[in-house]
Each structure stands twice: as C-alpha cells, then as structure tokens.
Subunit: 343 residues, 2 copies
C-alpha cells in the first residue's frame, strides 16, 4: 500500500512528521511506498537527522503550506502547490491509496472534497473520531468537517459511522445515538428533531437521543452530531483528560505518602493515561470522500504521526468506502419505495 | 432571606430534595424562610423521617409536577399548579427572593421567563455553570437555557457572565472567550463570526475564539456559547470526570501493589474527585431573568441540593441583577452613540 503524508502541516511541521514517518516505516513493513509531501530541503534534512534512507520513501516537492489563518476553501483554490493539495493529488491520480495530514483540517476537508469528490449518495464528508470508554471505544461523527450540517448530512454520518464501527472496530450491530439536550424525543434543536425522525425508521440500530453525560457512562457505539458540536466534544474530552492528570500529578507531589502511593499506583494511572491519550489513536478518517484521508491531530508528536499512518493502513485494508456506498444505496432504495404519504 | 425550593423536581424527587433542605437549614442560619413547594403529604413524610420541625419551613402545596417528557413552554401553560410554577409565583409575588429547582430545566427557564420576565436589555436568559480548573473556576454561559441563540443573545451572555464572574467569583477583569472551531478569527459558524464582531470592540476583556481544548489548559474566566453547545460541554465534562475515576478505581483494584498505592494516594485522588464533583457546585444561576432562579442538577443528591441552596443565598447577597442591567445599559448607550457607519 502507498500513503502520502503531508509533511508540512501541524503545529510542529516536518520534525515531528518525518520522525513519525521513520517510525512507521520501521514498524509497518506492509507500507510499500510513503510519499513525503512538502519542502524537499526540509524533509531531506529531517531524514538525514534520523539516518533514514529507506527506499520506500519518495519526496514530492511542494512550495506552499496552508496556514492556520487561511480560509479553507480559498486556500485550496489559491495555494495550488500546497503540501496538502499535492498529497491529495497523489491519491486522485491513483499514485497513493491514502493521505495523512496534521495540517489545517478545513483545508484537508476542502482539498479532499474538491479533488476526490464525495462518494455516491453522500453530500458532505464527516470526520470519524474514535474515543475511549472503559472497555472499548466509540465513533464520534462528525468531529469537525462540516459546521453547516443539514438533517440528511447527519443521517449519512449515522450510516458512515455504523459502517466504520462494523468493519474497522468489529462491532456487530453498533448502537447509534444522536447528541441532543436530553434523552426524550421532544428535546433538541430543529436540526436534531429532523434527524431523529429520519433515524427512527431506518435500518440502523438507533437508540435515540443521548446527552453528553451518556458518552462515557453506558455509551453507544456511534455518536452522531454536527461538526461544530463534535469538535467541541472531542477537544473538551482531550482537554479535561490532560487537565485531570496534571491536577493528580500535582496533588501526588504534595506529601511523601502521596508520592509513595503515586509510585505504587503508577501502572494503574499510566493505563488510564494511555487510554485517554490522543497520540495512541493517531488520526481520524474523513469518511464520505472518494478516497482515504486521515486527519491527524494538529499537535501531532512522532508517535501520533506513526499511529495516524497505521490508521491509514487499516483503512486501506478494510475497504470501508464500498460498504458505505452500498448501505446508502440500500437506504435510498427503501425510502424511495415507501408510499409518498409515509415519507 | 427567603428561598423557594421546588421539592418535586429532579430524578429523585422529595427524598433527596427535602434531605438537602434539612441540611441547608442546619448549616445556613441566614436563610429565614424556606418554602418547600410540592405535594404536601410527601414533603411532610420526608420531613418526619429527618425529625425536622424547623419553623423556617413553610410547605406550599402544588398538585402537579412537570415530567421530563413534557414540552417546556406548554408545560408551564398547561400545568398551572406544578411545583416549579408555584415556586416561581412565590418569587413573583415577592414572598421569596429566589427559587431552586432540580426539575425540568426547560420548564424552569420557561416559567421564570414568562412569570418574572427578562431584565431590561436582556432578550433571553442563560444558565451560568461554574466549572473547575486546577486553581480556580470559570463560568460557562449558556449551559442550556437557549438553544436557538442569535448573536445578540451571546453578546448579552458575555456581559452577564462577566458580571457574575466579577461580583460572585471576584475576578477583577475577567477574560472572555467565545467557543469556536479554532483560535483564528476566520473560523466558526455564521453565529460565532457575528458574535466575534460584536465582542471585539466591546468593553469586555475579550480574548477571542477558544476551542474545547483550551477550556482547562490556559483557561479564560468566562466561556460564551449557545445553549446546545454549552449543555454538551457541561455534560461531557461531568461524564468524562466520572468515567476516569471509575477506570482508575478498577485499575487500582488489579494488584495488591496498586491497591496499596491507591490507599496512600487516596487524599490526592479525593481532592481531584471533589473538585470535579458537580455536587459541590450545587446549582447554576439562570441569569437574565428579573429574579433569582438556581438550576440544580437533575440527579441532585442531598449534598447537591444543600449546595444549590447555598448558591441561591449567595446570589441574593451579591445583587447581580442590578449590575447586569447597568452594564448592558452602558453598552447600548455606547453603541447607539457610535456613528451609524461604524456600527
């Protein structure tokens, strides 16, 4: 398999991204080719630091970078030679099977949508983030691709999230919940009430509205919401997890007894810390585009980059896209066959 | 001071609420009168259990309860003798200074808005939830009162949150952040972009857009968002905090060494647990109505109820409402005096 890595994006740029690429190539022998897209001088310098001359690497020079202050869609149109655009081009031309980027999320969404187009039956792509529960994980979709969501977009997210959950996370019949203000059907915005009406009669294992407080207690397997809300959930979870470990660390330093306790309990604390560490998850697939695009964390470390490349490899293997197309086709057929009065 | 407690609301009804009332009366001598509003037989039975015959208690009988499945605004119109409506009536008639309810949030918002009206210059009330950071707390407004927010509502929330932060939490010049998708000005929904434009030139200490990930790392003192997003943030924080302590507890039980560590570190863990425990905060004021209404947690324990009554007492003492009216009046004057071209 062949992966194109946007080597310029993210808060830390080439140093972290190239280091992650080198780690991934050492660990994942089934990556046959890794395109490193960006400023070739910088990329070469980083590769040199690691003493890496793996012949599976191919540098694709790109002269521009999308900045965090750029507007997503215009950046794709104006900066034609940006690293993210060039990486997507490699997928478009069939030279790569997937792209991975830690750069401007909006630009990655825009470039993928413009160049690769959406899958048949899908209007807007959505980011599927994977979050931990005590014993497992759930999919949160959309985690930030589409902030002007219409009801049919959220319906499509529910289908895409279910397919991902079944084929990549191996849940048999994943439960689907809609983020709202309360469990009751009557609660929510105009958007969520519309989506509720569409999800209820669908073939999905829809359990109804869920609140933020149900995310980790008695969790569902697919959590559906618009991109603004999903992004807030994702970032809030990261933030509070990091904060709590810091608070705990400081509290554990206060007395000798606590220090001893922290030392004895270090593996227990470490297990939870790893579970809530986004670096372990690496990246989130942008579902619904006709290709594979993995959105890595903006603050990606080498470890996070390596794991984002692993997620890309898994996505290539699992062939999620044909399953999405099939499920949406079946839904549309069923809906179309209903009496107009029932629709 | 006189407080009206909706004794029927919440997931657990009279047992927890009356127990909390009894705790509060023992602890807070400056509560001169506590109305317990609801089914008098049930309330009397609960008081009897606690052997409480405090003469500051006055039971106000109400025959109805707003259910969680009721629609907020119609419940207020249809169930005229509900406990929450009767409690608000006591404030309206000047018999009580504040109400506390753990019932249907939407009904509490609707009853307060309909009966007490909003303050001059305020279009919609907002719930100001107080959340912990490592060393302090911040105000999240709106935490769920208004899910159809317009830009001017969020502007008013920013002012109300700042007033609350200054007068109740004693921040001198509280920093205000707007929840969006990234720190950059160009990011966000149509709503947040509009609000950004209004906040930037205002007299508030506005620091710009913030993401969920900034809530607990380098936090601002007032976090502004619409009620849907705010409710999701609040409930997600509660959910993940509870989940992480459960995970930690289970991990600490796995080996004898970890158990010993957990025992030695129990005070450190307990400190963080208390910090993130909503019961300690008790309730959130509904700011912007012409009166004082404290929204307690639906799953209120006796301790949470007691603390919600404490928040009500503090709100009565601090006289937040006149300050809100004054700040909004000044903002409107300044804006009106600007050249039309600059508005």
């Amino acid at each position: 398999m062949k992966i194109a890595l946007d080597a310029m994006g993210g808060d830390f740029g080439p140093p972290n991204l190239v280091a992650g690429a080198v780690m991934a190539l050492r660990e994942y022998r089934h990556i046959n080719k890794l395109f490193l897209v960006g400023d070739s001088a910088q990329i070469e310098a980083e590769l040199k630091k690691h003493g890496c001359n793996d012949d599976r690497i191919e540098i694709t020079h790109a002269t521009q970078v999308v900045d965090m202050s750029d507007r997503a869609w215009s950046a794709v149109r104006r900066k034609k030679d940006s690293s993210v655009s060039r990486a997507v081009d490699l997928v478009k031309r069939g030279q790569a099977d997937a792209i991975v980027t830690a750069g401007h999320t909006g630009a990655a969404v825009a470039a993928s949508t413009i160049k690769l187009r959406t899958l048949p039956g899908i209007d807007r792509p959505g980011i599927a983030a994977v979050l931990p529960t005590e014993t497992n994980v759930f999919v949160l979709i959309d985690a930030g691709a589409n902030i002007d969501a219409r009801p049919e977009h959220l319906l499509q997210y529910a289908f895409m999230g279910s397919v991902y959950s079944r084929h990549v996370l191996h849940y048999k019949n994943p439960t689907v919940g809609l983020v709202s203000l309360g469990d009751e059907d009557v609660k929510g915005t105009e958007l969520t009430k519309e989506v509720f009406k569409m999800l209820k009669p669908s073939s999905l294992n829809f359990v109804g509205n869920i609140e933020g407080r149900h995310l980790f207690e008695d969790p569902v397997e697919v959590v559906v919401c618009d991109g603004f809300v999903g992004n807030v959930i994702l970032k809030t979870c990261e933030s509070i997890a990091v904060a709590m470990f810091q608070w705990l660390k400081h509290e554990l330093m206060r007395t000798a007894m606590r220090k001893a306790g922290g030392f004895l309990a270090r593996n227990a604390i470490g297990t939870i810390k790893d579970k809530t560490n986004y670096e372990e998850y690496g990246g989130s697939p942008l579902l619904g585009v006709n290709g594979i695009c993995i959105i890595a964390h903006g603050a990606s470390t080498p470890l996070a980059t390596k794991n984002a490349l692993r997620v890309a490899a898994e996505s290539i293997e699992q062939q999620v896209n044909p399953h999405i197309v099939e499920e949406i086709r079946r839904y549309n057929e069923t809906t179309a066959s209903l009496e107009p009065a029932l629709r």
